[in-house]
């Protein structure tokens, strides 16, 4: 696909489809819970939803401040780095977004991330390693990619995906524990339609499926961010070149964990461990190839 607008539409459609399937999965697990565990199963559902909502949405609302702490990022002002602010300000004008807060992470590994509950509370951060290894056009490509996450409300989308996956995982977890610790005592007294042993398979598989779907959503949003970045800069070569720099570099960011991995422009988790299906980002060579196709077809970047 060489047209960034078509790419944006396709990724949005796919995200919607994936979130829809995740929703279906929640209903399916809820059905299993009620069918196999009867009243107790039905009681677990609101509990799981409440716990997940509080933890996911609590962190969503405070995402900008929370992430600053978790990644040890330092907020900076225009006076601290006027050239960086110029680059960001240019993307702000091209995108029509408000100026985000800017932070620096002291780390030799090149990486960047964006967070914040909406464009008015956005934060973008860059490692010192990234600022040292990119030229102006490449840096602008990275800035545009991060601002795209803000524009596309990706913190919100991933919170929705995380909530759905979280609810599924929690329901399965609680019910499996009940099974293990003697839920069978209730078997004949709760009026359930499904024999408990049949519930085991979906209870084990559903969380895995949810994680796979969540990873797929993350990959679509990364792809969307690449396309939206081109819609801002109209310069696919900048981002492509930046990704090539990242592909060549093998150092990894220090302050990383599963919780924040998905936000970085390049996955900071060990590539050999995460297989393609669980990956939060599309393979970097694929991203580079897509951008190259846009460069080869200049009329598509207008």
């Amino acid at each position: 696909m060489t047209d960034f607008r078509a790419m944006q539409s396709a990724n949005k459609r796919k995200t919607f489809a994936l979130l829809f399937f995740m929703g279906v999965l929640v209903w399916f697990i809820a059905y299993v819970a009620i069918a196999a565990f009867g009243g107790t199963g039905a009681g677990v559902i609101p509990l799981a939803v409440l716990i997940t909502l509080v933890s996911v949405w609590g962190s969503y609302f405070a995402s900008d401040k929370l992430v600053l702490k978790m990644t040890r990022a330092q907020l900076i002002t225009e006076a601290d780095n006027p050239n960086l602010f110029n680059v960001i300000h240019e993307v702000v004008i091209a995108s029509g977004l408000p100026m985000p807060k800017v932070a620096i992470v002291n780390d030799p590994a090149p990486n960047a991330f964006a967070t914040g509950r909406d464009p008015n509370h956005a934060l973008i951060a860059f490692t010192t390693g990234l600022l040292d290894s990119m030229d102006r056009d490449e840096l602008q490509g990275v800035v545009a990619h991060e601002m795209s996450h803000v524009a596309n409300r990706d913190t919100l989308v991933s919170s929705v995906a995380a909530t759905t996956a979280g609810v599924i995982a929690l329901i399965s977890d609680i019910l499996m524990r009940m099974l293990w610790f003697g839920g069978s005592r209730n078997r004949d007294h709760n009026g359930q339609q499904m024999p408990i042993f049949l519930a085991i398979i979906p209870l084990i598989l559903a969380p895995i499926a949810a994680t796979l779907l969540k990873a797929a959503v993350s990959r679509r949003r990364e792809s969307l961010a690449d396309a939206t970045a081109v819609s801002f800069t109209r310069n696919p070569a900048g981002l492509r070149s930046a990704l090539e720099v990242l592909a060549r570099d093998t150092t990894v960011v220090q302050a990383r964990s599963n919780a924040v991995a998905h936000m970085y422009i390049e996955s900071p988790l060990d590539a050999s461990v995460a297989s393609k299906l669980f990956a939060t980002h599309p393979p970097i060579q694929e991203r580079i190839a897509v951008l190259r196709a846009m460069e080869a077809n200049p009329s598509s970047s207008n």
């Binding site: 050239n83 300000h89 993307v91 004008i93 091209a94 102006r136 056009d137 840096l139």
Partner: protein, 184 residues
């Protein structure tokens, strides 16, 4: 439910729909105005940088009168332009004049090395980019508005909203991306 209640609900729904479409057109039109104002902000920034640039260059290359004159004249013309075609034309002329002046400056190593000039170059480069991006954003806004104005069903409400198609910002010269080698 009898037929008059159904008709009433249908009318109410239609009124709500009409309001939404009307507001959409108004909002899109206002964003085009805003985007145009943003171009003018950036153009003014550029115009304000120019006297400083002219003085710095004059300090090292005073006999390059032709290039300097072109810039000064183009700047004067740009401050008086107000309609979109006039602004676009003046903007294009000034961009060309500036490019000419910077090309001339290449031949003066003392000028090129002066910190004043280097800072001005970054300022100019970023301002040119901002002008270019604000033009792009304006054209994006115009595209969104024109698409809404011409596509069904929003097109039916164009008369009511008194909103029409707007013109794109066309520049003769393709926009240049300035990327000097600066350390961050």
């Amino acid at each position: 439910m009898d037929i008059s209640a159904i008709i009433l609900i249908a009318v109410a729904l239609f009124v709500v729909y009409a309001i939404l479409q009307y507001n959409k057109l108004i909002r899109l039109n206002i964003s085009v105005d805003e985007a145009f104002a943003q171009i003018e902000v950036q153009l003014k920034r550029r115009a304000d940088l120019i006297p400083n640039l002219v003085e710095t260059v004059k300090g090292y290359a005073s006999h390059e009168r032709e290039a300097l004159e072109k810039v000064v004249q183009a700047r004067a013309a740009s401050t008086t332009a107000s309609t979109l075609p006039a602004v676009a034309a003046a903007d294009g002329a000034l961009t060309n004049a500036l490019r000419g002046l910077l090309a001339v400056a290449e031949a003066y190593p003392d000028l090129k090395a002066s910190t004043n000039f280097l800072q001005l170059q970054e300022e100019l480069a970023t301002t040119e980019n901002k002008v270019s991006f604000s033009r792009q954003f304006y054209n994006d806004s115009v595209r969104n508005l024109n698409t809404a104005v011409k596509t069904i069903p929003t097109s039916f409400f164009v008369g009511l909203a008194k909103v029409g198609e707007r013109e794109f910002y066309e520049v003769e010269d393709p926009t240049i991306r300035n990327a000097p080698n600066v350390k961050f």
